[in-house]
Symmetry: C4
Subunit: 253 residues, 4 copies
């Protein structure tokens, strides 16, 4: 095995493709959004990417079969638009790993004629969200203008500290590749997985790519999260128990 | 010295070999199990693997002679079956180190015609164990079925978080090598070295490979552990002293 | 992308150049000083240096456009002296990254005929500063002598622990390159960004290179910092609130 | 600069050389011992070793001149025996760095015809020492026997956890080089630099290599340490102040 290994599963021929990335991150917003598109469209597994920059880990499915940690690219179409969906269980585990994984993603993007990238993620606000705004950043003015029309907010000095990880690097490293890229970041408390924030991000994407999906699945997950949260709040008000940690909540949804 | 160095000690010729791995880990279950097989069978040292992915450390034997940290492969037979036993004092110390060490193990496995791997380990439950179940995962359905018959449990979403380290990667990285692999994980509290869990794992292996070993040595160790634990529990109930940490207990046995 | 990538923006022809480095560090003294020279002189962006040794991060400007973390070299003249100014948002994130980034800087220095380097930084005193002394270190006696005349202090065993990071390595690694280098370290409390310490460092540089800049901008920043500090001190004396952490203050200025 | 750079300062021709290593470590025992030999014999700087595995750091001497962190080899003779002394300010900063630095040391050892290595260090006991025993480990029986005669203790399972760092690896990695190596570890509390432990180690070496040095310098340092310790103990008994940390004490001597 090399540092990064790409295993092609299905040969597909895509043109003028849009790549939508949703790896784990704040509120799991990006991953929830991309996984929702995976569930709702007839997406096909194209390739897996293995790397020693991921944790040394296998997951075990319900049949007891182990499989090595990987990122996965799926092909689908949204309103006749060729689309690659990128998801996975892990980000890279080191600084230089992030750079190398992102370059591997962009090499694959070149192979499948990707011309536009949407990197999806969450931006933590530290408080519960009433209205789910979506923040943006892009590599070119035209995308900023277009996304502004769909309601994406481009705010001075936000996100503070910039965009970290693969989502950020997809923008930073795509410049030399004649690919335009934007990052869509759903506001989220940062305390739990956030299907509502994922929906807010998907609704922007719906306008940008003119497609239509059903949200009942994400709504169900959001309701379950809210039940858990209100049960915890109840417990908290009864006892002076310590508040649930981020970890408690992150893995409930 | 290269990144990984293999020092061959004895030339052996093995056929259709079973590799049994037991490196340090939770409850030291895997290492206890493999070391028990080493003690009970006429195993012969085949080779040592040195690597800069291990800690920069030598151990000193009772004669004052220092030797460099290494993994060791031993050859033995169990019911006419050629077997390689893999043990050592350390896992790799980094993510990519785990990948590289595991690939080195699999290269050696290829050299000795390994067709099946059993990776032994422990899975922490966080509480004292009454009945020592063994959880499993495998690379192929046939091994899941066979091991289920011997009493191995394949449970949905367990172990949560997958299998980490060399044991996990032996499954994840063996797929491209026409080697079948399974991981046998003895339930253990996670608070101390656990000879009983090691025995539970070995009893599965006994069925799978049709061999027979004596367990009096492991029983002795288990009894000593229990004495220590009950002495600590006594001390705890007398004083409100802080509970022994995992480190206190891990190195007693 | 390689480990380190240099993107040339403007071709410039410089002779007998002075390189002034001001990357982030204690009190942000070096960066404040170099950025002040950038603002006050007609400096031109010469090249950007990208590296996987920097954090995997993009910053987002006021127009929503993302750009990859980089170091930047600017060309300017100070009293007819060709000058390169080096600034950036980050230091390298690992030991060996510091070495490699510094060697990349020195390679670029060679390309632009750099003969002298001033590495600017802060040295933490742990207490509020009344008089802003500047400590020095150099690679050759002649620079020690000259800088002593301008008021730089060369004290026995200071800074204790030596000089860490790119500023230190610019001295340590320039010896084999026929470049003379000095480090100018403004004393600073270490608790906040310190425009006054940056000014003290610049005033030494002014003598060394015979140039003249206006300090009203740095004075404004210093005043704002002092307001914030006195407001915090007031709050502290009223409540027994916990003191502001270094992080609170570092990013105010 | 490569990963490791050797700068030869003086050409020397050595035969059947003994290498004595004393890098920083527990109680600074090894470094104190080797530095004492440097001070007491007419040792000559042979070469410096620079590496990106050391901290990115320069030290500044009393004249304000900066020099890059390095290990240094000095040549001297002890009772007509050619000797190389190895000292430095830092150990490597990572696991694999320790391996690579040690291999570089052994390459240099080969260049200067080293046949025997003494790696000097301290072993922490956690309590104040009355009688300064010296523990040993070696690569060959003959050295164990000889050193036992000089009073070195070879105890079962000590040091627990083996020998970590360059001292350990000099034994572990010298086996394939036809060099015999021993480690001499002076018992020390582990709480402060320990000139008395360094003397105990040197006295063994004196027997092994039949040389003679004056110890008044080390005695002076030991007395100063004891004054500091008794002053601290006084302060502690007067106030219920927190005990000085290891760091407080380590850098006093």
């Amino acid at each position: 095995m090399d540092e990064i290994t790409v295993e092609t599963v299905t040969d597909v021929d895509l043109t003028d493709t849009v790549l939508i990335e949703g790896l784990p991150g704040v509120g799991n917003v990006g991953k929830l959004a991309v996984n929702h598109l995976l569930d709702e469209t007839d997406a096909e597994l194209v390739c897996r990417v293995y790397s020693e920059h991921f944790p040394p880990q296998v997951s075990v499915d319900d049949d007891g079969i182990a499989s090595l940690t990987a990122m996965e690219f799926y092909a689908t179409t949204l309103d006749d638009q060729d689309v690659l969906l990128l998801t996975g269980d892990h980000q890279a585990q080191s600084n230089h790993g992030h750079y190398r994984i992102t370059n591997a993603i962009l090499d694959i993007a070149d192979d499948y004629d990707v011309s536009t990238i949407y990197a999806l993620g969450g931006v933590p606000t530290g408080e519960l969200i009433e209205e789910y705004d979506v923040l943006g950043a892009a590599t070119v003015d035209t995308m900023v203008e277009e996304l502004s029309e769909y309601g994406v907010e481009f705010r001075d000095n936000e996100p503070t500290g910039g965009i970290v990880g693969v989502s950020g690097l997809l923008l930073g490293l795509s410049e030399n590749r004649s690919i335009n890229a934007a990052c869509l970041m759903g506001e989220t408390s940062g305390y739990m997985v956030d299907p509502k924030s994922a929906r807010a991000v998907l609704e922007i994407l719906q306008d940008a790519l003119s497609f239509d999906v059903d949200y009942s699945e994400l709504e169900d997950r959001a309701e379950k999260m809210e039940e858990v949260v209100s049960r915890i709040q109840e417990m908290e008000s009864q006892q002076s128990a310590p508040a649930p940690t981020e970890d408690d909540l992150r893995y409930i949804g």
